[in-house]
Every structure is written in C-alpha cells, then in structure tokens.
Amino acid sequence: MLILTCPYCGVTSEETEFHGGGEAHLKREGPGSDDQAFEGYLFHRENPYGVHFERWRHVYGCGKWFHAARDTQTLEVFGTYSAQVTTPPEDLLAVIRDKRPGWQWRDLA
C-alpha cells in the first residue's frame, strides 16, 4: 500500500485515500484523428518495470487529480505534480535522470 503526497492539499496519505488513473500525459485524439492515432490514445499504454508517470486522484481527500512519477520496480516515488501540465516538470526529470541514469519513458529520457 503506497504512500503518496497530494500536491494540491499537501496531505501525505495511504493509497486507499487515492485512486489510480492510469498512464499520465496522454494526448486526447478527437474527431479528425486517424485510426492509428485514435487507437494509440484509447488502447496503447506503457507498462514499464521501472520509471513510470501516472495519474492519481485524491478521491477521499481534496478530490483533485494529480500526477506521480514512480518506479514500479522499487516503488520509489520521485515526486507528485500538477495535473494541469502536458509533460513532467524539468526539476523532477532532473531528479530521475540523477537516480536512474539511462531511463526512458515514451519520448522522455
């Protein structure tokens, strides 16, 4: 049972207070997108054994969605950050680069 810190209300709490929302930073494909792009948006997901970026919601707390960068192998949480971004903040990426040299996730490295 993970411990996460909600970047909105600042509460550090048990996983049961949160709800996982799958992969982070998906780009929505609406009408006008081709089948391949839409398939990728709807169905294709990263499944890394290592660094991962996820969406979480503080569902039994402030109700806010946020992002978490985490290692699915060691369960280390590199950080949580705002849901209102399309890519992880640069300072967090620097932390990950430092701790996991050579990591890669989608087009991030």
């Binding site: 993970l2 048990e14 997108s33 839409f38 709807l42 060691t74 369960l75 280390e76 949480v77 209102q84």
Partner: protein, 999 residues
Amino acid sequence: MSTRLNTGGHRIDRSAPVTFSFNGKTLKGYRGDTLASALLANDQMMLGRSFKYHRPRGLVASGAEEPNALLGVGEDGRFEPNQRATTQEVFNGLVSTSQNHWPSLEFDIGEINSKLSRFFPAGFYYKTFMWPRSFWKHVFEPVIRQSAGLGKAPQDADADTYEHYYHFCDVLVIGGGIAGLAAALAAASGGAKVTLLEQGPMLGGRTLVDEDPALAAEIAGMVATLQAMENVRILTRCMGAGVYDHGYVLGYERLTDHLDAKDGPRHRLWRIRAGQVVTATGAIERPLSFAGNDVPGVMLASAVRDYLVDYGVSVGDRTVVVTNNDDAYLTAIKLVEAGLTVPAILDAREGGAGALGTLAEAKGIRVLKGHGIAKVKGRKRVTGVAVCRQTGEGAVTEEIACDAVAMSGGWSPVVHLWSHCGGKLLWDTDQAMFRPDATRPPRGSDGEAFVRVAGIANGVMDLDAVLDDAVAQGLAAAQAVGQAGTTPADLPALTARDDRPTEPVWLMPASAKRDLRAKAWLDYQNDVKVTDVQLAAQEGYESVEHAKRYTTLGMATDQGKLSNINGLAILSGALDTPIPQVGTTTFRPPYTPISMGSIAGEARGETFQPLRRTPMHAWHEANGAVFEPVGHWRRPYTYLRAGEDKHAAVEREIIQTRNALGLLDASTLGKLIVKGPDAGRFMDMMYTNMMSNLKPGKCRYGLMCSENGFLMDDGVVAKWDEDTYLCHTTTGGADRIHAHMEEWLQTEWWDWDVWVVNATEQYGQIAVVGPQARTVLEKLGATGVSNEDFPFMTFQDHVLAGIQARVYRISFSGELSYEIAVPAGQALALWQALLDAGAEFNVMPYGTEALHVMRAEKGFIMIGDETDGTVIPQDLGLNWAISKKKEDFIGKRAQLRDDMARPDRWKLVGLETLNGSTLPDGAYAVAAGTNANGQRNVEGRVTSTYHSPTLRRGIAMGLVLNGPDRMGETIQFNKVDGTTIPTKIVDPVFYDKEGTKNV
C-alpha cells in the same frame, strides 16, 4: 511413550491445571502449555492424517512452522479448522478434533492411498482426470471434492468479534527474541517511537531454551528496561503477518485465544505504518530427508528440546538424534541431563562435531560419525531406526530401538517478512542457507531501504555476533528515521559455541535407492516426497515455480517454512543446476494464516458498509417497503400490504398509478449542478446531444458516452439559468458521473471556467405520477400548471404545502408526471402532504419494480439493462439524441470506428411472445447452424423482460440482429430446458404509443 516429566518446563505453571479435550477424550494440561505440548504430555503422538496418502502424522515442530498438527478447535460459532496445535495455547474447556480421516484417526479408509502411492505420482490429478469428458461432472469432481481440502469449514456464523487498530511508529521490530530485544533497545535509546511484536506469549526466544538458565534474568532485565520506556510498546501474541509497500505492516494479535473466558474482541489486526522495520525472526530448523521421516515421533531436534525445556515434556524415553550440524547435539545433551536416554547421535559428517560433540561423548552418548538413518521403523509411532553409512545406498549396519527421532538438517533464516515486499536473497554456500541480501532491500517511497534484518534471521549464526548485529541494525533503523541512538549498556554476554560447520545433507543416505526416496518426505503438509520433485524435474518442470505448482511443494500454509530448502536442493540435484540458479519460490504473506474475521474487522453485518438513506427511508420502513440495494442506497422494491406477495403488490402499484395517482421516492437520482461561463461548452462535450442551446426553464433528455463510444449514463438535464445546468443521472451513476466530469475538467479542459457539484443528497425528490397528478399539485397550492402553462419537459418553481419547490414536468412512465425537488430536510413533509392530498384518489407509493415495468411498457431504456458497456446509443435507436452538428463530444470519435457502423450490430426492438408468456431474463435468440465451437448460433438477446399488468401479457426488450428491419418476424428464444419460445419482433413502445396520457 511421550510423557510429562516431574521437573522442568519454565513456560508452564504446574499450580494451574487446565482441562481440555481431544477427539472427545478429556485431558489435562497446565496453564502455559500449547495444545501440542499438552497432547504430547498425554502420549497423543498421532494427531492427524496426511493430506494425500492419509498417513499417520504427529508433531514435527514446536512453533509456527508445524505442518502436521492442524486441528479443529472450538465448537459451533467458535469452531475453526486447521489450527496449529503448536501455537494454540490450552485453556479450560478447549475442544479439539483431528482432521482428514474417515471413519476415525486410528482407522482410516483413505490410508489405502498410501499403499497405492506408486499410482499417485506428482501431477496425478493433471494426468488422470482428463477423459472421458463426461466423467467430470458425475465421477471425477464429486470424488475429488470429497477428498479435497484440509479440515471442515465452520457451519455457524462466527460468534466472536474482531477489530482493526491503526498504528504508527518510527521503528517496528518484529520478533521478541534476544536479537529483537537488543534491536529495540538500540532503536529506542535516542527517543524513536518503537513497537515490538512477538508472535508467542513470551519474550526471549530460543535463548531461554538453548543457553545458560542464568540468562533468563538478564533477558527479564532487557524486557523491564524496554517496558519502562515511554517511547516503546511491546505486543506479545502478535505476529508480524506481512510486510507491504512503503512500511505498511500487518500485525495479527490473538487476544482471547488462550483465555478461558472469551470477553472482548478475539483478534486485533494492527495496520501499522512504520518508518523502519527490523525483522528479528530467527531461524527454522530443517528436517532431513530419510525414509520414514514422517512417522509420528520423528521431530525436529529443536522441537524435542523445546518440549523438554519449555514444557517439561519428554517425547520418548529413548531418542536417537540424527544431524548434519552441531546444534542437535544440544538436544542430546539436554535429554541426557533430564535423565532420558539417547541411544546414539548419528552425525552425517565424517568429522563429527566440535565442542558440543566432546561434551556429548563426555556424557557417555554414543556418536556414530558419517552415519545416518536408512529407514525409520514403526507406522503409527517410531519403534526404531535402521542405521546406515551416509555415503552409500542405505545398507543397514545396525538397528537401534527407540521411541523418538530428533533430526536436524541445519537452520534456515526466517526471511519471509524480508521477502514479502521484494527483498532479495543470496545463497550463502558456507552456511548452506538463503539469507537477506542487504544490497537489494524492500524500498520505501524515498527509495531507501525500509526493512533491516537482525541476528540469526540475517544469517548471523554465531551467538556472540548476534547481539552486535542486532544493535547495529536497531541503531541504523533509528538513524534512518532521524533519531540517533546509543549502544545499550548491560547486554548479556553470549559466547560462541565453537561449532564445526554444517555440511549440507539433502538426502539420507546420499545415494538412497528409490524405495527409500519414495518414503522420504520433503513437504509433510502437502505430502510431497523426494521422488515427486525428481519426477517433476524429469518431466520437464525445470523452473522452481513450475515444479512447486506441479508437486504442490511449499504451497498453502507452509509457504516454504519447512519444505523450501530441502525441496530446492533435490530439484537442484535433479536438474544438475546449483541452488542459487534454481532460485527460490516467492514467499507470500501472511507468514502463517490469519483469521478471516480479523481481516473483516468490524466490517460485518450492519457496519459492513455505510447505508445511504433518503429522507423518506423511515417512512418506507414503516409502510411495508421491501428494499433492494441500489449502490449504497436502499430503495423500496415494492410496498407490501397484508396478504399480498411481491408480485401482487407491484401489479397494484402499477394499475393504481396508471389509473389515478402514484408517488415515487426519486431522491436517489443523481443531481449534479454544472455552473460557469463555459458550462454550455462543457455540457456539449459531456452529452451526445446539444445542450448549450437549451433555453433556461427547459429540460432535455441526454445521453453520456465514454471515450470508447459506449453509452454509460442517461438522464434529464434542466437548464436553471444561462450558465447553470442540473444534470439528473441514474441512481448508481451519480458518484461515477460526477468523477467523470471532474476528471475531464481537471485533466483536459482545466482552463475552462466550469464547476461541478454533486447535490444528490441536498434535495429530496418525489415523482407525482398519474392522471390526477396535476389536481394534487393544485390542491397543494400550485397555480398556472395547465398543460399549456406548464408544458412537458419544462420546470417551474412553486410553493407546495408551504414548501418552496422546484417542479420538473418529466416522465419515466408515460403518465402525466411531476418530479418535485425540495431541500432534503423538507422532503418527508412534502411526501406526507402529497399522501394527504392524494388520499381521495387512493394515492399510494410505488417501488422500483413498478418503475421498471412502467418504463419498459413505454420502451424507455434502462442503463445496466439495455446497456452493458458494449452498447452504443445507435444500437438502441437513440440516434435522435446524438448531435450531428457538434464537432466533438466524448465518444464521438469512437463511434466513427468501422465496428460501430457495421450493419449487423444487434439493435433494440420490442419482443412479444406468441403465447403471451414472459420471456426469461437474458435469454438468447437462437439461429440456424452452429459456430466454430459447435454451439448454436445466436441472433439476439433479451435485455428487459416483465409481465405487464397493464397489457396483461409478457413484454420484453432485446437486442436483435437487424432487429428494426425485421418487425413482425417471429424468432426463437431459448429456455434452459432446451425448448424455445416463438417470439414476435415488435416496436419497443408497448403502451400509449401516441402519448395521449402525458397531457
């Protein structure tokens, strides 16, 4: 004979006799006895039958690792199967029974399996019960079910209560032996909040058995110091059951299992968050694999010693000790010191033992070096051993008569808790054991290790080094949580024993022939023998995880405690691959089984989950409501009157509502308020319809799809004002749809100026339904509510019976209908006023079943009936509710996929059986021919089916291949008896197609 000695037994209180029973026999023990020690004291050597071969089995161990002595304990509501005799303390009135035998423990029919063991090899079930297929249902399954499983499931509801505790500490120490105590002292010395768990009733661990009795006083001193510290909490009879992510640990405390009087909760589950965890869980002795190592009376050498020292119980007058290490000599020495006989120590090592060997020989014990056991004599108990050279095939050199065998194959650190959350192990060749690899620990959220292992559990087997290691781990744990500590003063002085190294012995004798190997057990609990693992390897199960499942080695409650290393070593030998490459199976929590009650805690009966009640709930209860669960709500299914069954009540409610007036408590309906300058734009994305062009004061039925295009919810939207919408959702959908809206607002369109509030519980809502609905509204003070002044799909504010109300003229029944929303606190008053005003029309409330029937009569869909997560609005003929003008809405892109537009999708139609009967729910329409699996082809299915009291016949809706193009055609719906029901495809609107009633 096993018996109680006149002296010894520091755990028992000889002044406090206890009476208990085993298989109906009344027996005596003492306070402090375990059920195991008390049974042994009464010469009850045989305690059960084995799982597969029904061989007689007795105690092997003295603690949590015991595989055989699983008993039924208690009676009626307090009966529990598979309780370990070794961890169950005796109390007055304890009732215990043996398991897995028929008709009796002494005489068992199933023992024939043992004679047939050649025919029950590893993978027997997989190999045998395959053909003919038809035998499965009537032959194989009943036979397997009869013989499967250990123990009998309780028949009565659990009479006890259970509870959960939440607990937080800086350092959690698991294990109350000398290493755990030292680690706790070190960790607590700088002020860290320390909690120590010990699974047994007593602190001090093996030191109290194995070392100088004078150490007991020093240990008591350590305990007293800890108890005096305000930052330390000690819990005994509390097992560290599992270690989970980020320092989460479950502690399993047994509060009343040892007491005569069972007051208060039986078990307490501690849900602990620890900054650091130190496991000081010691080690478990390994059995040796020789023929007959499962005969009652063959026990671990440490267990023989425990029963002697802890409980004053002798397992037998004459005990042969067989070992590959020095530690077992201690058992021989203690037995002789207690006046018992040790005919021989069989040491598989040619070089024999160190200092303890010298001491044993000085006490006159005969030591046979380089020897082992070829075979144990005796069936229901040991009568002797046949001795052989360890090297060789088992030629018998002599036979020694004895009553018990004390075996030791070395020690395995208890690494379970370390491994639960991903801690890795390394193979220590010198000590022939897996021990924790400190470089690959379980890690916390900060990426740092959160579990440390102290003492023998860490593979530190030299006694003088144990305390140093424990102190170091305790200090490191304290430091990791920012609490520096100091090395505790006055720790006991322990001296190393000068043991000679353990020599691995995985099979005794080393080249044992098949007949001996086939009687050498690796896993007592799952009845796995050396030959089974070898056969698995031979048949290609090379992965340790595969071999485990094929043979069942180390499965179930054993979790590798006794069987693991010996089994791995045999597999390693059979595969000719070193043990570290073979690897180990996964240790899973809990360490030993914990009660289901403790997991449930207080969550049972009425406190299982919160119940949501509408403002009228109490009225419903008082007026015959039969409730059904809808989400966490309880909604009246119908209201029973005297002499009625549910069917009759539903019919009455429908006919009354259609003919005059009915009331529905619609308060559970979801009510989401969407507000803001961008509300219209947002509503257009959420719903398939255009919502932004709705005029204030108007209502519109809307559909919501998932991004996958499938219909997920529906309901009437009312536009309160230019930037405010009220979205009605289904009862079960309110929370989900609210979350859905929040998700899109927060994560996709966060720059849109919109807010969503779930106001479901703020309003009580009452549907006033039927031809007299308007009259009743007028009676309560509403004016200007004619069909022209207050048309369908609009809302108005009125004061009804003095209550400010918002009245929606919407209908889910086809009748003239008003849904009246008032503040929740006034809903019951309005409900009562409506009942009073409607009395002259014989008003009555109706429940969810009447609601369902009336909506089906009108062909209205129900989310969850007509939809199942694979149905799109187009399948339901709802194209009119899908905007073609909008560029985008959630699900629009998905509905453009080929599969959504293919012509042969099943589509919604009405269904009328030719004979007027009601179709079975979920029935399939069968078509000509069969599919690739030889099953009948199908061309549709029933989604809703009811008896319509209005039409006096069965009506149904269903999804049928090309259904709307086949109006009037007759198709066949199947029944479970194999017959079919001819059914005509019709329009889904069965009642009042012209809408003449809603005026």
